[in-house]
Symmetry: C2
Subunit: 283 residues, 2 copies
């Protein structure tokens, strides 16, 4: 039986999402920051530090990180509270921007402060018109329709343990987790996938990102990206097990993608860099 | 095309293997120790502390752990060097035992001291005659034909990083890793599987074990057991990538098994506890 295609793609529009697993290099290769600058087309880039409960020098570290890269203007967008997200001062920051990068912190602070405000509307306009929306760590998680908020790392998922919440929904049909291999988060990602296998689990390592356009993404950076596809799952115990019981889930299709690898979100198929693909076919 | 069945099973014989992911509970539920005692049939149980570079109180902790359980005699087997593994004093310890439990430490110390010695021969006899051979942590890893010795945890596998060595080969066609979710070891297990997808990757959490008889195992304990089946892998970069490059591997079939779940090593199929299976069929 052919199921209808699930909506698994970035929000329709001309823009690009750069979803980063945290701790992107800001001093040496700066591969991910270079890509964000390139995708912003040398325009104005806004560093949205909204996820942070205090202004903690995030902006300063990005000022250093983007030094010498092709960015005409770098500005910080910080909000003390939700009402600020309707103020002209905030909207002025976003005016004319071709890129926005959300730094790390608490994903709930991003959604609770900006969702359904003029700042969010502005963000979507930048994306629709071809800009780049990037986010690292909490800024990565919040891109999803349903985002992971809390869940133990370094253990197998136990039923009832995850906390999720509605995200900004810039990408559909996926759950994103970050600091992935570094914090041993396979257990909690599989817990999320088990709850609704329609949703594709994507775990992104530190200094690694997926660059999403439409329904495809490409991996950049130094680590791996794990894709847990639950569409063929034959059994899981999330519904029947008691709270605290260990997850059982059979038949997950798992990919580990490295720099250059691609993934088609709609077809649920991994791919290789075009050059490598041609070479493998020749052999 | 039907491939011939790979030899993926415990060593032929009447015995049972109990392969433990480390840190099995010794004070409260003692679920795994109870199973080891039960499988030894109330006979003499040898705690082989050979993996440890010094006698570090391992035996004493097991004396406490097995207190009150049905074990007629509990003795320690420690070897200072390889020549001890041919001595009568060591063989006397194993004489009449119905079970041996290898504690944690360094898996290379186990293999380099006992492989191809009278002690190992004695061990195999205990197994062949229906005894139980258990091992935790290093004692779990050494059960394989090719064992994982070293590899970074908490990061995605980078080509060239794993250290492997020949193990005791009590179980064939699998690579076992331990402290699995707790130390974020998915990356290195997939690295091992990528190198030879014939080999099934099995990652065992702490306080969790697989009980293997012939070509089937059952999970016991509080955590999860990850089975990474690479037989359907469509692409990996382990052979062509430069040392240090991040692993790319597509189409791994992954299962997370919890207590009661079973796995058929030969058919490469997970199963449910008999009771649950019947219930799922009724629905």
């Amino acid at each position: 039986m052919e199921l209808p295609h699930a909506e698994r793609c970035a929000l329709p529009g001309k823009g690009t999402l750069v979803i980063i697993g945290g701790h992107e290099d800001k001093e040496d290769s700066r591969e991910i920051l270079k890509e964000v600058a390139r995708l912003s087309g040398g325009g104005k880039l806004v560093i949205a530090t909204v996820a942070s409960h205090t202004r903690e020098g995030y902006f300063e570290s990005y000022q250093k990180g983007f030094e010498g890269l092709d960015v005409s203007e770098l500005v910080e967008l910080y909000l003390d509270e939700r009402s600020d997200a309707s103020k002209t001062s905030a909207l002025d920051k976003l005016q004319g921007a071709t890129g926005v990068l959300f730094s790390g912190g608490d994903q709930l602070r991003i959604t609770s402060l900006i969702a359904d405000t003029p700042v969010e509307k502005c963000l979507r306009e930048i994306y629709l018109e071809g800009g780049v929306i990037a986010g690292t760590s909490a800024g990565a998680s919040m891109m999803c329709e349903t985002m992971l908020v809390k869940g133990r790392s370094e253990e197998t998922y136990r039923v009832g343990e995850l906390q999720m919440a509605p995200g900004l929904g810039l990408i559909r049909g996926v759950i994103i987790d970050q600091h992935f291999a570094e914090r041993g988060r396979m257990g909690r990602l599989l817990g999320a996938v088990a709850q609704n296998p329609r949703v594709l689990g994507i775990g992104i390592d530190e200094d690694t990102a997926i660059v999403v356009r439409g329904d495809c993404f490409t991996v950049i950076g130094s680590g791996g990206v794990y894709v847990a596809d639950g569409s063929g799952v034959t059994h899981s115990n999330v519904a029947e097990a008691r709270t605290g019981e260990t997850l059982s889930i059979h038949d997950v299709r798992l990919h580990v993608l490295a720099a250059g690898d691609t993934y088609d979100l709609r077809a649920r198929e991994p791919g290789l860099p075009a050059a490598k693909e041609a070479e493998e076919q020749r052999q």
